[in-house]
């Protein structure tokens, strides 16, 4: 404790004096923190290039980028929402790069300016000790057995929840949201807020849980089952991008190469995400094994309307 305090104070004085070590590549990334750190450490060990990491929610990362616009600090950006890649590319903020390691990444997970680090899928996270029957499809959660026992991330706050809502309404399941609402489902907060009540048993299931977090909790021994609904779900690929403003494109490219290397992708797989490369073994069902709802690239243009009708269904 004492030594930690002392080293903390030492680091403090050093950086207060402005002696902060100038890192070689600065990465802004959405969670999970463990993965970001592991990738940074392994990359530095392999290449000798230091990584400066800023990890927060996708929203906070975006806010920081926006506030830093006049003097951008980040080289590499990893978001939890593919929409970041689309909208940043449209604004001309990204440096085109195709990593040689991206050869094994399927086409729909890469563009000229972005490539997936990995992907999550949305699922039902269900507590088997909740005394409710095991749900098999989204619509099950609107049944009386789950009255007031379902929670759902707010699509206005969670990009992946929004994509699920958009895909379900695109598949003609609009009525489902009204049914959920009259069944007492609670729409609250971003993704992480939804899972804890289910773990403790205050709620029975999350409608649209980000699967890798729930799978990780299950691996730790929590009573939680991850169910991929039979009518289909959506995946949320996590795009990696190099910002055009980078002063260090070579090292940024090396970082992307590393994340897409076998070792990097194995780190990704360890967190229960789907690795972007098809030749890396996943610890969970992958895209080819999941039933996907038909996607529509234009949903973000209709975002306002979709959120409005969702909010109306929930009487907000």
């Amino acid at each position: 404790m004492k030594t930690t305090l002392r080293s903390g104070l030492l680091a403090l004085t050093l950086s207060l004096m402005g002696v902060s070590a100038q890192a070689d590549v600065t990465v802004y990334t959405a969670g999970p923190a463990g993965l970001a750190k592991a990738l940074a450490v392994d990359f530095t060990a392999q290449s000798g290039i230091k990584v400066n990491l800023y990890q927060a929610t996708t929203g906070k990362v975006m806010a920081r980028l926006k506030a830093e616009e006049s003097n951008p600090q980040a080289d590499v950006l990893i978001s939890a929402s593919w929409d970041t890649a689309t909208s940043f590319a449209k604004q001309g903020l990204l440096l085109p790069y195709t990593s040689p390691n991206a050869a094994k990444v399927p086409d729909f997970l890469k563009t000229d300016t972005a490539v997936a680090q990995g992907a999550a899928a949305l699922a039902i996270a269900w507590n088997p000790k909740s005394g409710t029957p095991k749900p098999e499809d989204w619509s099950d959660l609107a049944k009386p057995a789950y009255k007031s026992m379902v929670t759902m991330p707010d699509p206005a706050q969670s990009g992946s929840a929004f994509e699920l809502v958009a895909a379900l309404s695109g598949a003609g399941q609009d009525a489902l949201f009204g049914d959920l609402a009259s069944n007492g489902a609670l729409v609250a907060g971003a993704n992480k807020a939804a899972l804890n009540p289910v773990l403790q048993g205050a709620k029975a299931a999350v409608f649209g849980a980000v699967d890798y977090i729930a799978l990780g909790a299950k691996a730790k021994g929590e009573a939680i089952d991850v169910i991929f609904p039979k009518s289909g779900t959506v995946v949320a690929p996590r795009p990696m991008m190099i910002l055009k403003s980078t002063k260090n494109a070579e090292d940024a490219k090396k970082f992307i190469d590393f994340v897409l290397s076998e070792k990097g992708q194995e780190e990704v797989a360890k967190t229960y995400l789907m690795p972007a490369r098809t030749d890396i073994k996943a610890l969970r069902p992958t895209i080819t094994e999941l039933n996907l709802l038909p996607g529509d690239d234009a949903v973000y243009a209709k975002r306002g309307a979709i959120l409005d009708s969702f909010a109306k269904a929930f009487g907000k």
Partner: protein
């Protein structure tokens, strides 16, 4: 009288300069952001583009109304808890008085977002309370009274300590006089003690009000469950949800600041309406009056409040930290030390995060304390014009949520033209903490200065002491306890600050707050709670050591005065 005493010279310009760097410049950038939407990119295009749409919206009206409701509710609830306890503590012989003080210090050491999570884990369906007794209080917790309850249990110590200190300073001396003239004990308290304690009380009520309207964690987590939005949650939404809307966040913060400044103006009117010099050079004697038959009920009230504010949240935090899994519940087989082992092995950087935060807390407390004294001296003992402006500026951050201060600091210090900048070093966190917390030392110190009768300084001057010597021998010993208390407050709050740190922490740095938040974010509630528990213990022990030093200091100060 007051005006002529101040040492002229460099103190005033120095103070003003420090205030400009720490507070004014970041706020200028927030203002610019509110007016010019593209300022982040260095452009002054489309001024006032956002103003109408933001302020005319239904959301804004609702959020502003809820903010006021919340602030007033928490102030009322905190006063109902704190003022009677403070009066008993200050005016009567209370068994275990110091222990109660200590217990009431703890709620302030528990980060509000952690306490809220503890309450949720305790009271929600299948929570700890239901596991133990079979009932849950979810309908109460997820309601307006529930939010007020949780926040009041966190903030009542602010009023309790300010009020009991002030009641004790007024002492039974003044009310004894009224008793001699025939007033009953209740009447003496209402007509003499309470009115004389007004400056300290009003200051602490304002502090609680300001804390409540800028608190993020509790309204965000509890309010989301029943659609209770306040300005701060609106600000956070516009800063972190797609599409990011920084100008709207800045505008909402300006609205929040307007509310807070209005409250500040009201407090000033109350505090300066009459003369409150009650410290006449004699330190208060320990109260001698006995509680009589009220001893049992009084102790019961203290124990009940201590359990609700300290015991219950700490037990919930500890239970979660000791649980192997959350779904395993409160079973013996589910309990273990593995979360603490994981934290203490420092695999994930928990200890270095604690080291960083404690170091930053100490530095922020020293700087804020120093600046606070300078501001109080300049405004209370300096010439009147300008003093009010300085004080109002120092109070400004009170009204701004941490996330907005962080935003202003980025906009300011990340300018490409700056040859040297604290941005992306730990110094930016120090700047953020000093800015956010400066109102605390200023308020405490100003209130303390206000209670010191200027005739004490006049007497010293008459006896030939220089202004500097007068400040050193008379003023400082009398205000030192308040300043130290305020610095402890800065230390504790800075050490656990979350909202600003999350946005502005230099790359690669974790503080206690951001570390715990990351653990929660990854679903490791147990490890997060283990760190929270250790942090609470450490941040309680450090101020304790210092508080005992204060008492020694007070004793030697009173010995000095006796000799004088």
């Amino acid at each position: 009288m007051q005006g002529g005493q101040a040492p002229r010279g460099i103190l005033r310009p120095l103070t003003a300069a420090a205030l400009i760097v720490v507070v004014v410049l970041p706020f200028v950038f927030i203002l610019l952001q509110a007016i010019f939407p593209e300022i982040g990119a260095g452009s002054f295009a489309r001024p006032f583009d956002h103003l109408h749409a933001t302020l005319a919206s239904e959301d804004f009206t609702r959020q502003a109304r809820n903010t006021l409701l919340l602030g007033v509710g928490v102030v009322l609830a905190s006063s109902v808890i704190a003022v009677p306890l403070a009066a008993i503590r200050a005016l009567y012989r209370l068994p275990g008085a110091l222990i109660w003080d200590l217990l009431f210090l703890v709620p302030f050491m528990i980060p509000p977002y952690i306490a809220t999570l503890g309450w949720i884990l305790s009271l929600q369906p299948m929570g700890y309370l239901q596991q133990l007794t079979g009932v849950n209080l979810a309908p109460f917790l997820f309601s307006y009274p529930g939010i007020v309850f949780v926040m009041a249990l966190h903030s009542f110590p602010v009023i309790y300590f300010a009020a009991s200190r002030s009641f004790a300073a007024i002492g039974s001396r003044f009310s004894d006089v009224s008793r001699v003239f025939g007033a009953g004990p209740g009447r003496a308290f209402w007509r003499v003690t309470l009115p004389l304690a007004t400056p300290a009380l009003a200051a602490s009520l304002l502090l609680v009000f300001a804390m409540s309207i800028e608190e993020y964690g509790t309204p965000a987590v509890l309010g989301a469950q029943f659609g209770f939005e306040v300005l701060v949650t609106g600000i956070d939404t516009s800063i972190s949800d797609w599409p990011i809307d920084l100008p709207k966040a800045a505008l909402l913060s300006l609205a929040l600041m307007a509310i807070s400044l209005a409250a500040f103006a009201m407090q000033k009117r109350i505090a300066t309406a009459r003369d409150f010099d009650v410290v006449g050079g004699k330190t208060p004697r320990a109260p001698t009056r006995s509680l009589g038959v009220w001893r049992g009920p009084a102790l019961g009230a203290f124990a009940f409040v201590a359990f609700l504010s300290t015991g219950a949240p700490l037990l919930a935090i500890l239970a979660t930290a000791l649980s192997r899994t959350l779904s395993g519940g409160l079973a013996v087989s589910n309990m273990g030390l593995q979360n603490f082992e994981a934290v203490l092995s420092d695999r994930s950087g928990a200890l270095s995060a604690m080291g960083t935060s404690l170091g930053l807390g100490v530095i922020a407390a020293l700087l804020a304390g120093l600046l606070g004294i300078a501001i109080a001296y300049v405004t209370r003992r300096g010439p009147k014009p300008g003093g009010g402006v300085i004080e109002a500026l120092a109070m400004l951050p009170n009204a701004a949520p941490g996330v907005v201060v962080a935003l202003g600091l980025i906009l300011l210090w990340n300018q490409p033209a700056l040859p040297i900048t604290p941005y992306n070093t730990l110094a930016i966190l120090v700047l953020a903490y000093v800015c956010i917390l400066l109102p605390q030392p200023v308020r405490y110190t100003v209130a303390a200065f206000q209670q010191v009768n200027p005739s004490l300084e006049a007497a010293a001057r008459v006896h030939g002491a220089s202004a500097a010597r007068t400040a050193q021998r008379i003023l400082m010993p009398l205000v030192a306890p308040s300043v130290l208390a305020a610095m402890l407050l800065v230390f504790t709050v800075a050490a656990r600050e979350l909202v600003a740190s999350l946005l502005i922490a230099p790359v690669g740095t974790d503080t206690i707050g951001t570390y715990i938040w990351r653990q929660f974010d990854q679903g490791s509630v147990g490890e997060g709670m283990a760190v929270a528990f250790l942090a609470i213990v450490v941040t309680t022990l450090i101020p304790l050591a210092i508080l005992s030093a204060i008492r020694k200091f007070e004793r030697s100060a009173s010995a000095q005065q006796a000799a004088f």
